[in-house]
């Protein structure tokens, strides 16, 4: 495409990249704004400064006046002090002035009068010219000349006036063209008798003013006293000679001036103003400095803000530029439109051109697409017909009057009507019976209300009838199709007879658990019973929950555990109706647990019964063992009893005869007590073995059990002349067992060994009992004898009930020992070399609390 000719400016604009343009634009704008705003701002600052300066000056002036005032007050205080000084009173008391005499006043020059104390006057910042004593009439009597300045001529009159007017005076006055501060004070004696007055004349000159402002170090500010009437400056601080005698207005040219009136010095004959002056050049310099500083700050701020904006502009436009570039690249690749401009330059403008060319391309493409679309529609129509024909469900198209327009091959097959038969027939009459016809028509009416966009066609289950009279349950869905304002209805009819049959089957399958006489439940992960059959009522009662409620926390945990491990678990519960064994089987993919109950009441009772019998048997066996051992035990008991009788009789005899020492008798009686205790021990041990107790589990030391058992057979050992060698483990061997039963086992083994030993030579008989812990962590007891031993074929039947090699005995001992040891999760074994002895070993688990047998 040819590019149209553009104006030169626009061409230039196209060449400049957008970020540069943005930067330029931003800088220009900032400069323009600066030029407009700067003078306005400067003026405003000047005004603010002036106002501020005025306020400052007024404050300064007030301060200066206050300082002047307090300076004057210090003179007033000094004159009061002098007048009331003791020297004054001492001096004046003997002195008498006659009111009528014409005596000239006494003058002190270069000599201090007696009434003036040493430092009172010399210490003043500005010395007064004169200190004058006047009598009660106001006549000067004594004059103390302090400086060289001559006494003004008006002084005499002025003082007389002053004293006449009031006893205390302090005011400014003008004498001989010189301003003075006149201070007058009455002198009285102790009884308030008026003896005269003391007057000080202090020259108010530039020194005085300087001294009054002494505490303000900045010399830039000048104070002055101005005569109101003539507007002349009478006296000024500092040493600007131009000011003295100048007019106030003329001073305003080079000074900024503030004027205050002197109300406090009201009875001065002068009308004075107090002026504060500040050099104008100082003010101007300060102002221009402030304005310069402010402008510098403003400029910096404006530059920063401007830069940030420019940077932002640049960044944003750069971003846009990149975006546009990417869009352009993409579209040129995707749409195969060549980029109309060079790669650099102002993208926005380039884009504009480009979009124009793009629009044209799109127009062309639309034309092409329309052609393609038409072809596609035709194709799709053909496809649709094929789909209709191939559909597994009957599809019938009807017009708005319900007449069949299209009847697909599956419909022909299902309903038995041929295409020609069906076409133009009303569908409702053709395949629906009386009941379904109405439903179908209302469905048709419903579907007409649906608009085109509705995705879900209306679906309903109806009963249809085929040509040969078969009744078919069908699902009907109607989808309206708008073809050039004439609606057609595509009716999908699905034969659901097979599905219904399957559903019935599933329902009947589902009835299985409900008919089960055993509890069948289903619990989901949160522990809610989502199904429980009738037989589960007792279990639900036990849990205290209903269907669709949560099981107790313990069971909830079990359910979670079963689900997370994926392994089924079996647990037993005792409900009101018996003991149930529950199998919890996880169905992990559906996240619930099936619970199958099984009534194990009878089984558990039988087990309980068997256990009871077994305990009974163990007890009987123990009793019988004890019976067999009775003689020995009786003998054993006889020993301490005989000893007791002997000791007792010995005591009785001695006491009767009155012989025997007390200590001896006591020792004998202690022996009696010891022996009685010994007898008691034997009986206790015996009672332990004979008592019928419920099986228990206690933590005991195996060594102690062996010791007890050995004690019980001590008589038999005695009889046979065998000493049992106990090789007990150094450490206690802790096991959790029924101590009586295990002792019974040990006793059995020991007695068997003794029996075996009775058959051989008395000299070499040995019986060794060992306890310890095996290398695989089992506690063990080993009973080893060197008796006759056991023949190999006897060894096999050793633990069978009623197997015995002895003449007496029932042959229950080892059998019961085995039962006991097995019950303790242990094992018992025997080995033997015939003729050389036998070894019996009992192994028991070391004490672990986890070992829980079914007994508990």
């Amino acid at each position: 495409m040819r590019e149209p000719q553009r104006p030169l400016f626009k061409q230039l604009l196209r060449r400049v990249p957008m970020p540069v343009l943005a930067a330029l634009f931003g800088l220009l704008t900032a400069a323009a704004v600066w030029i407009v705003i700067d003078p306005i701002q400067t003026r405003a600052i000047g005004n603010i400064f002036r106002q501020e300066l005025q306020a400052q000056l007024e404050t300064r002036a007030r301060e200066s006046l206050l300082r002047f005032d307090s300076f004057v007050q210090s003179y007033v205080n000094t004159v009061r002090l002098l007048a009331n000084h003791r020297r004054m009173a001492d001096y004046l008391e003997p002195l008498v002035w006659f009111s009528g005499d014409d005596e000239p006043p006494r003058v002190y020059r270069d000599q201090r009068p007696l009434w003036a104390p040493v430092n009172a006057i010399d210490d003043l910042p500005v010395k007064p010219d004169y200190a004058i004593l006047a009598d009660t009439d106001g006549r000067m009597r004594e004059i103390y000349q302090i400086t060289r300045r001559p006494l003004p001529k008006e002084a005499r009159l002025e003082i007389a006036h002053a004293i006449a007017d009031a006893p205390h005076q302090a005011y400014l006055t003008r004498m001989d063209d010189q301003l003075y501060l006149l201070l007058a004070e009455k002198v009285e004696d102790a009884s308030y008798y008026h003896m005269g007055s003391l007057v000080l004349l202090v020259p108010v000159d530039s020194r005085f003013l300087d001294a009054s402002q002494q505490r303000a170090p900045d010399s830039a500010i000048t104070v002055a006293l101005v005569d109101v009437d003539s507007q002349k400056i009478l006296v000024a601080s500092g040493n600007d000679p131009l000011l003295r005698g100048a007019l106030l207005d003329s001073a305003r040219d080079s000074y900024v001036t503030t004027v205050q009136s002197f109300f406090d010095y009201g009875n001065t004959p002068l009308n004075l103003l107090f002026a504060t002056l500040m050099p104008r050049h100082l003010v101007d310099a300060t102002r221009s400095r402030i304005i310069a500083v402010e402008r510098r700050h403003r400029l910096t701020g404006a530059a920063i803000v401007g830069l940030i904006f420019v940077l932002l502009f640049v960044l944003v436009s750069n971003r846009i530029n990149r975006l546009l570039k990417r869009v352009a690249d993409f579209s040129s690749r995707a749409l195969h439109i060549e980029q109309p401009a060079p790669r650099g330059g102002n993208r926005l403008l380039i884009m504009e051109d480009w979009i124009r060319s793009f629009t044209q391309a799109v127009m062309r493409a639309r034309e092409e697409m329309r052609a393609q679309y038409t072809a596609e529609i035709e194709e799709r129509e053909a496809l649709k017909t094929a789909v209709l024909d191939a559909s597994l469900d009957p599809i019938v198209t009807i017009d708005q009057h319900g007449r069949i327009v299209d009847f697909n091959p599956t419909a022909v097959q299902t309903f038995g009507y041929g295409q020609e038969e069906a076409l133009n027939q009303p569908l409702d009459k053709l395949i629906f019976d009386q009941g379904s016809r109405e439903s179908f028509n209302s469905l048709l009416a419903d579907s007409m209300k649906l608009d085109d966009e509705s995705v879900q066609p209306v679906l309903r289950t109806l009963t249809a009838r085929s040509k040969d009279g078969r009744i078919l349950p069908v699902e009907v869905a109607i989808k309206p199709v708008w073809l050039e304002n004439e609606p057609l209805f595509t009716t999908y009819i699905r034969d659901i007879s097979e599905r219904q049959r399957q559903a019935r089957e599933i329902v009947s399958l589902a009835a299985f658990p409900s008919e089960s006489p055993m509890p069948v439940l289903r619990i989901n992960r949160p522990g809610v019973v989502i199904y429980a059959n009738r037989a589960s009522d007792a279990l639900l009662d036990y849990w205290g929950c209903q269907r669709m409620q949560t099981v107790p926390i313990f069971w909830k945990r079990v359910v979670e555990e079963v689900l997370s491990t994926g392994r089924s678990r079996e647990l037993e519960v005792t409900t009101s109706e018996g003991i149930l064994s529950l199998l919890l089987a996880p169905v992990s993919d559906l996240d619930y647990v099936n619970v199958y109950g099984r009534d194990v009441t009878a089984m558990r009772r039988a087990e309980e019964e068997a256990r009871h019998r077994q305990n009974e048997l163990i007890h009987v066996s123990r009793l019988s063992t004890m019976g067999e051992m009775a003689t020995g035990i009786a003998h054993e008991l006889n020993q301490p009893l005989s000893a007791i009788v002997n000791f007792a009789n010995g005591c009785v005899r001695r006491l009767r005869l009155g012989i025997g020492k007390k200590e001896e008798l006591i020792a004998a009686m202690e022996q009696i007590a010891d022996q009685a205790r010994r007898a008691g021990e034997i009986i206790k041990r015996l009672r332990g073995m004979v008592a019928r107790k419920q099986p228990v589990r206690e933590e005991v030391d195996l060594n102690n059990l062996v010791r007890d058992a050995c004690a019980l057979i001590s008589h038999d050992q005695h009889k046979l002349g065998v000493a049992v060698e106990s090789r007990l483990n150094g450490q206690p061997v802790m096991v959790r067992v029924d101590p009586v039963q295990i002792e019974q086992v040990i006793l059995n083994l020991l007695r068997n060994a003794l029996d075996a030993l009775s058959g051989c030579e008395p000299d070499g008989r040995r019986l060794v009992v060992t306890t310890g812990v095996t290398h695989d962590g089992q506690a063990y007891i080993e009973v080893r004898d060197n008796g006759v031993g056991i023949a190999p074929d006897e060894l096999k039947h050793l633990f069978d009930p009623f197997f015995t090699t002895k003449k007496s005995g029932m042959g229950m001992g080892l059998s019961i020992s085995q039962t006991i040891v097995t019950e303790h999760n242990g094992k018992i074994s025997a080995r033997s070399v015939p003729g050389r002895g036998a070894v019996f070993t009992v192994e028991l688990p070391l004490n672990e609390t986890a070992v829980e047998s079914k007994v508990s």
Binding site: T631, A634, H635, N638, Q639, P640, L641, S642, A643, I644, V645, N646, F647, N649, G650, C651, R653, R654, L657, I659, G660, A668, Q671, D674, Q675, R678, H718, K719, G721, A723
Partner: protein, 207 residues
Amino acid sequence: MKQNGNAAEPTVFVVDDDEAMRDSLRWLIESVGLRVECHDSAESFLESYYPGRSGCLLLDVRMPGMSGLELQEYLQQHEIDIPVIIITGHGDVPMSVRAMKKGAIDFIEKPFNDELLLDAIRNALAVNEKQREKRALRAELAARVATLTPREHQVMEMVTAGRSNKEIAAELGVSAKTVEAHRAKVMDKMQAGSLAELVRMSMLVRE
């Protein structure tokens, strides 16, 4: 056990392996002023006992090592005749009977009746005393017999066999008078007061 005191003072030897039993027996027996010596086994007893000590033996039948019966047998075999009292426990009657058959003079069943026990001990000690006297007498007689000449011994044998002087004279081929002289000598040496006494002595010697 220490053996103090002289052999003539009767001692009750207690042999029992049960210490309490020994101590209590000592206590009881000492209450009647008898000397008691205790041993915890038959072996210990044999180590310290020597024949001729007067006393009796209180012996427990059941003991480890040498049992009571074995000790009894041993004593018999070695002709140590000390009276033995068997101590038995309840139910050991058969064994006690065996002991009695072997010459024990008494058996006492535990627990003891003190009177019975002490009586038995006294009895045994008396028997022992008699035995000792008899033994002493026999020794004396044997000494006297040893002083007889062979002829006198011959004559004494015959006299005590109940032969008359004439028979003896005929048998020995001597005169009756000679026999008479021998007989007088015998009576004198044997210190027999009468023929009857001489007969008794000869019987004792012969035992």
